[in-house]
Symmetry: C2
């Protein structure tokens, strides 16, 4: 049983090599550049951990983990076009550096490269793994489209937002674990439990992300605190606030969102605090984390095998906040 850190190091060592031919450089250099920007590589390591929960890591799982990371990077490259994002992790995005057209093609070919790797998986499981991968890939696209739709949709319910986050973020974490579990020989019940664990973990993580954007320590939080509030982004906090605050507070909130005064962030935060949206968010995060752990507990393997996943969950979702 290896920790997230150990597996992450091993994965990074294998992953940090060329994934594409050298020519045509105008197509492949952008992808090599983007993969070198780095990242936490959470999804491929979840795939490895999903395998190791049940058995020693198979060579197929390393291929699959790499395919998952390439898929994730494909979504990032295309998302950066849609979001008109100039920077990611402090470096220029692919559309910013190489133009939108090349970014479209570079993303396309990154997705195809993921399928190339997956085509090497043992025939006994290839259909099952690819079915899950394809279903997940479609869901991620659906989530991204729904998220874009929300930008112009005036009222978004909690349920709608939750569904979008599940599609856009949670299912890939869940599927990464489940693909590892399939390759590690887990039975169907255990596969589904590890999938549900990943899904709830993803929700807890998103609640935390939305919370930190509003209430995080500016020194520790990587992004600008209040960025979501400034841009009127729908988040767990805003959507709950619009459903839960008093009529007067709701009116003020809507006015702040329309008029964008200079003290918008502090005044929105005051409404959030007055109506205990901050406490609600922490409770919601803990609820999802508890549900995740219940699923993990139910998985029928010796409990010491579950240690690394438990540690990872607690590392990603800090209880004390």
């Amino acid at each position: 049983m290896q920790s997230f850190e150990q597996l992450s190091q091993q994965f990074t060592l294998r992953f940090d090599q060329r994934h594409f031919p050298s020519e045509p450089a105008s197509l492949y250099a952008p992808n090599e550049y983007f993969l070198r920007i780095g990242g936490k590589r959470v999804r491929p390591v979840l795939c490895l951990m999903g395998n190791e929960l049940f058995d020693e890591i198979k060579s197929d799982t390393w291929e699959m983990a790499t395919a998952i990371e390439l898929f994730h990077n494909f979504t990032l490259i295309h998302d950066d076009i849609m979001d008109k994002a100039p920077l990611r992790r402090g470096k220029e995005t692919v559309p910013q550096k190489y133009g939108v057209n090349t970014a479209i093609l570079a993303g396309d070919v990154m997705l195809i490269a993921a399928y190339e790797l997956m085509n090497n998986v043992s025939l006994t499981v290839i259909r099952q793994v690819q079915n899950l991968f394809n279903a997940t890939a479609k869901e991620v696209c659906e989530g991204q489209q729904i998220d874009m739709d929300f930008e112009t949709q005036e009222n978004v319910s909690f349920e709608e937002y939750l569904k979008m986050i599940e599609l856009k973020t949670s299912v890939l974490l869940a599927a990464s674990l489940k693909m590892g579990a399939i390759l590690g020989g887990a039975g169907e019940r255990n596969q589904n439990l590890v999938y549900e664990f990943g899904k709830k973990l993803g929700l807890a993580f998103q609640v935390q992300d939305d919370y930190l954007d509003a209430f995080g320590d500016p020194g520790k939080f990587g992004k600008q605190v209040g960025g979501d509030i400034l841009s009127n982004k729908k988040t767990f906090l805003l959507i709950h606030a619009l459903e839960a605050v008093s009529a007067a507070q709701k009116k003020e909130l809507k006015k702040l969102m329309q008029e964008n005064p200079a003290d918008k962030v502090s005044r929105v935060l005051q409404i959030f605090r007055d109506s205990k949206v901050d406490e609600w968010a922490i409770q919601l995060k803990n609820k999802y984390l508890d549900e995740a752990f219940t699923h993990l507990d139910d998985i029928a393997v010796l409990s010491n095998r579950k240690g690394p996943l438990k540690e990872l969950a607690l590392f990603l979702i800090k209880r004390e906040q």
Copy 2:
């Protein structure tokens, strides 16, 4: 043995149904809209013909043909973004009608749907078919990128242009035939011959397309005659002309391309005619068609099985022009 027309009718009948869920409509309606614009469905029918050259059409081949057509439509949706094309076959393109961001995602999910279908192919050939599909898909992306690079590249050699056309156009026609042949149980030698037939047919078709843009009958040719000349598009004709005409003609040609006078098309055509670029193009088309037929002749099946492919080739590439 069925003709192109018979197979095309059968394929269209099967293909003209929903390929995507109804929700989220903001993502899937654009794809359903685009698939209903229609098209000649040449590639999926080539796949069916590649199978029928060797054996009765298998159920796998129908799935594969559908996957190929979805893949082709994925490339069209993304190409229409890159080309900023408002219309295709007289109808609004996906980026024009639904916006660039949705067109990116709609294309992505169209590609994933192609893989979904391919995942149903028999395990005995799934790896071989997907390997060919993945390699071809990457080549098509490479061809599109190189074609974009040519827009800002001053000198493009005949060999460079030929390679680009092979990647962007020919390999998908060739691979469609070969995938059908694999599913129809052809041996390796026959698979490769049908692939080479498709590749040369694609080249002949592109030469004809470039020729018709310059010398076609405006009444019969679907597009504006002279469109390539107006936009200084690199074509077989222009690239050959720049390599073959006299120094004075070359100077005039470059001047016309820079200055875009009102009579540009007729003056460029005059240079083409004076230096016999039109005759050269017809010879080149016939050369590729002859090479295609030589590969077809070499395929080890009864010659009457080859009839439909021969007819299709002659229908696509009109000898008399």
